[in-house]
């Protein structure tokens, strides 16, 4: 192959006495998509921050671009070296136009006045090259997440970046938007850019990666060429052990006499919110794990919010164990035995500054309280300690703020809060989003155990292998409607193609 565009040799980074990176080598060629994988905390972000200039590597580290040693200092250094990062949380100003965002910090001016037309003209060809369906004048607030990502990429191309780092770019995208993004990434590869692609998702790495490099605990585990990329190999490299049964599913409600008897624990009957959810019905039985699949924007989270009273039901009603109930607030949902795990744990779930102990006990403080409102601190501490032991939450002690934990541990803290309630019905919205591989598997076995103990579980997920791996039945939503449902056969697994067909509406074309 030709000269590598980027070579990192023996790159280390220490924070005080802790080595976040140790002698990591990374070689990237122009015209390749280089996937970078590793669990949370493996050192991917640290490596990328060194490339962007946010961190300065330890002495002895060496970075070469086009064979020339370079020092990258500060965000401008990264830009000057031709490196651009597309962050997970997009870094656009929503109140400004597309052109203004692309020129942010390098605005064109004529005689001290902003040269708006010149900026718009300069952005036009790049947008055309990316196949954008919006104009340079469009305000970013009006763009979808996929379109915003395009703006980020346009900004990188405009800065003549030749190394593009994408950090979990599909997290906020729908399946269709992801497909378009993949096509674009392949186009950029063909144009000779080097793309470093960070992702937790195996299917994306399969689809895109020319090479995969795996990090673990701040060290390089190894790299695989295209022909050698296999899911089990990568997972073993990432976690350092065999994950034989990644999706834990032992319980089957069909073999459980208690599970099938009687009315469904949760039934939504033709509920609608007048906007995104248009007359949806679903049931979940005791001991059953039901998946709610669909594209982003199909209305799955909105449906969950209707059930738990976070948004008002306009028509239809909810039944619990066969009785119609009126739930107007999330508090009333908890009283009725429905617990909901939010898809956005930082914004809507956790209290990052509060201790794990308070986070875990929050929903049951009132129930545990003495004299109608005095905290029972011993009970709370016991409960938190049991949750730490039972769910394998790794933190120094129950008193540390939840914000300091890794994604997987934060998710387990949030789950503990819900489990403390002892819910009859558990609605989990993207339960493993932003969670590393090891914790994912642990969360699956928690779900399996809950089903075993008779909890009715509804899992909303965009991760199809996950839905297929852990669910007994899948309900698929499309554009606010229930598009259909698929039941796991006695021997046959759920089919990814069938679910996608329902989610996208292609099954109607076939008929």
């Amino acid at each position: 192959m030709s000269e590598p565009i980027l070579e990192m040799r023996r790159v280390s980074k220490s924070f005080f006495s802790i080595k976040a990176l140790r002698d990591v080598d990374l070689t990237v060629y122009a015209g390749e998509i280089h996937a970078l994988m590793g669990e949370n905390g493996a050192g991917k972000s640290t490596l990328m921050k060194i490339l962007s200039g946010a961190y300065r590597p330890d002495p002895g580290s060496e970075i070469r671009i086009d064979g020339q040693p370079v020092q990258i200092s500060g965000p401008l250094g990264g830009r000057a070296a031709g490196i651009a990062i597309i962050y997970q949380e997009l870094s656009l100003a929503p109140n400004l136009s597309v052109a203004e965002n692309i020129y942010l910090g390098r605005e064109l001016s004529r005689g001290g006045l902003l040269a708006r037309e010149a900026m718009q003209a300069g952005v036009g060809p790049i947008l055309a090259r990316l196949g954008a369906d919006f104009t340079p004048q469009t305000q970013v607030a009006n763009l979808s997440m996929g379109q915003r990502q395009l703006v980020e990429i346009a900004r990188a191309l405009h800065a003549r970046s030749r190394i593009l780092i994408m950090d979990e770019p599909t997290t906020a995208l729908s399946a269709g938007e992801s497909e378009r993004l993949f096509a674009l990434i392949r186009q950029l590869r063909a144009e000779g850019l080097a793309i470093i692609y960070i992702s937790h998702r195996m299917d994306e790495v399969y689809a895109l990666g020319d090479r995969v490099t795996v990090l673990r605990d701040g060290t390089l585990v190894g790299s695989l060429d295209k022909g050698d990329i296999r899911a089990d190999t990568i997972v073993r490299m990432m976690v350092g052990r065999d994950v034989s049964s990644f999706y834990k599913k032992e319980h089957d409600p069909r073999n459980d006499p208690n599970a099938r008897s009687g009315a469904p624990v949760l039934a939504a009957i033709d509920i609608a919110d007048g906007r995104r959810v248009k007359g949806c019905s679903l049931t979940v039985h005791a001991g059953e794990v039901v998946g709610l699949a669909g594209l982003v924007g199909a209305g799955r989270t909105e449906l969950a919010h209707l059930i738990i009273g976070a948004a008002p039901i306009v028509s239809g009603h909810v039944e619990i164990e066969g009785r119609a109930v009126s739930i107007r607030t999330p508090g009333e949902a908890l009283d009725a035995g429905i617990a909901y795990l939010t898809e956005d744990r930082k914004a809507l779930g956790l209290f990052l500054d509060m201790s794990c102990l308070d986070n875990i006990n929050l929903a049951v403080l009132g129930r545990d309280a003495k004299f109608g409102g005095i905290l029972d601190r011993d009970k709370a501490r016991d409960r938190a300690k049991r949750a730490f032991a039972g769910l394998g939450i790794r933190a120094a002690n129950v008193g540390v703020p939840a914000g300091g934990l890794s994604g997987g541990n934060q998710q387990k803290v949030l789950l503990s809060r819900l489990l403390a309630i002892g819910p009859k019905i558990l609605i989990l919205d993207e339960p493993t989003r932003g969670v590393d591989v090891g914790a994912k598997s642990e969360i699956y076995s928690i779900i399996d155990n809950l089903a075993k103990s008779g909890t009715a579980v509804l899992v909303i997920s965009s991760d199809l292998p996950e839905i297929i791996g852990i669910c007994d039945r899948v309900i698929v939503m499309r554009a606010g409607h229930i598009a259909g449902q698929i039941r796991r056969g006695p021997t046959s697994p759920l089919s990814q193609e069938e679910i996608m067909a329902l989610a996208t509406g292609t099954e109607q074309l076939d008929a």
Partner: protein, 346 residues
């Protein structure tokens, strides 16, 4: 190059060590937060004592300092509740004036006179609950609502006394304004105003740290959306904190009325809200809510009182006192920013 990838063994960076280091840093941070401005308070006291040739640490002067800090401590306690939810109450000075007026007017009725104290406190609570209702139920921004009531309630205070000063030299319970609780006769006595302030701090601490409601207050300030989804009645929490702030402003009004035997709707409590906010921020409570303690607020209120008293003792002119106190406010907010940088919020 990649063939031995999966099997290459490497020494992992001990994650246990990292975790221990992290906890140690968190613990240091928590200690800094807990101790907060206490060292600053002590340094100020010692500094003023030296600069004033030993006139600061005298029984009489300390008595003056605590007496002067009492009303602000009470207001700042209420303000702590509000700021912990991420809100602000600009109306406490006006509410204090209106409550003092209401109390003094009631005290002049021969039969109702003894009820003046609860009347003052109740007046404050009613105004506070009105604030809270507008903020919680109509979802109006706290700054705007209390900016409005800062003006409106000031007007109400002036209306109450027909814009005159109301006197009552024989007001019942006057001892709470000027008397002292004798602990050891002839040796140690504590001004009643200060006893009330300490009781308020103590009760506030109990509510914030030992009750379900307290955790809910921190939760609403830390993440209001998450609190709502977790089943907390956010509106009830908000009405409560503004109600408490109003009630304590009413108590502050009663304390002032008992001390002065008089109240004036125009002058009483002018810009007291600023001292209360300053005390809370100096005490380490975060302006965005969710972080802070009532003990910090007590230290903050004492710093303000020591600053006022000490600057007078060492003969700094009135004008310069304003400048110095203003700089302290800015310094306190800068400190708040600095403190937040290390927290999980970033």
């Amino acid at each position: 190059m990649p063939e031995n990838g999966a099997s290459s063994s490497t020494a992992p960076v001990a994650p246990g060590l990292a975790a221990a280091q992290e906890t140690k840093r968190q613990r240091t941070r928590m200690i800094i937060r807990a101790v907060g401005m206490l060292p600053v308070l002590l340094l100020l006291c010692i500094g003023f004592h030296v600069l004033s040739d030993g006139r600061f640490f005298t029984g009489q002067n300390i008595g003056i300092v605590v007496q002067q800090s009492a009303v602000n401590t009470v207001l700042a306690a209420g303000m702590t509740f509000v700021i912990l939810t991420g809100g602000i109450d600009l109306s406490v000075g006006s509410i204090l004036a209106a409550s003092a007026m209401a109390g003094l007017i009631i005290s002049k009725f021969p039969d109702l006179g003894v009820l003046w104290l609860p009347a003052a406190v109740l007046t404050g609570a009613v105004f506070g609950i009105l604030n809270g209702g507008l903020i919680a139920l109509l979802r109006l921004p706290p700054f705007i609502v209390t900016l409005g009531s800062l003006t409106a309630v000031r007007g109400a205070a002036r209306l109450l006394g027909a814009d005159t000063t109301v006197f009552n030299p024989s007001i019942p319970y006057a001892f709470i304004g000027n008397g002292a609780l004798t602990l050891i006769p002839g040796v140690l006595s504590i001004p009643w105003l200060w006893v009330i302030a300490l009781l308020v701090i103590l009760v506030s601490w109990l509510v914030l740290k030992r009750t379900v409601l307290g955790v809910h207050i921190y939760a609403v300030g830390g993440n209001e959306s998450a609190a709502r989804l977790a089943g907390i009645n956010v509106w009830a929490v908000l009405i409560f904190v503004y109600g408490v702030s109003g009630l304590l402003a009413g108590l502050g009004g009663a304390m002032q009325a008992a001390r002065l035997y008089a109240a004036n709707g125009l002058q009483l409590g002018q810009s007291y809200e600023l001292d209360a906010i300053t005390a809370v921020i100096l005490g380490g409570t975060s302006f965005v809510g969710g972080i802070g303690s009532i003990w910090g607020t007590l230290v903050g209120a004492l710093i303000i009182a020591v600053l006022s008293n000490g600057l007078i003792l060492i003969g700094v002119s009135d004008v310069w006192q304003y400048v110095i106190k203003g700089l302290v406010i800015i310094g306190a907010v800068a400190l708040d920013r600095y403190r937040l940088q290390g927290s999980a919020r970033t």
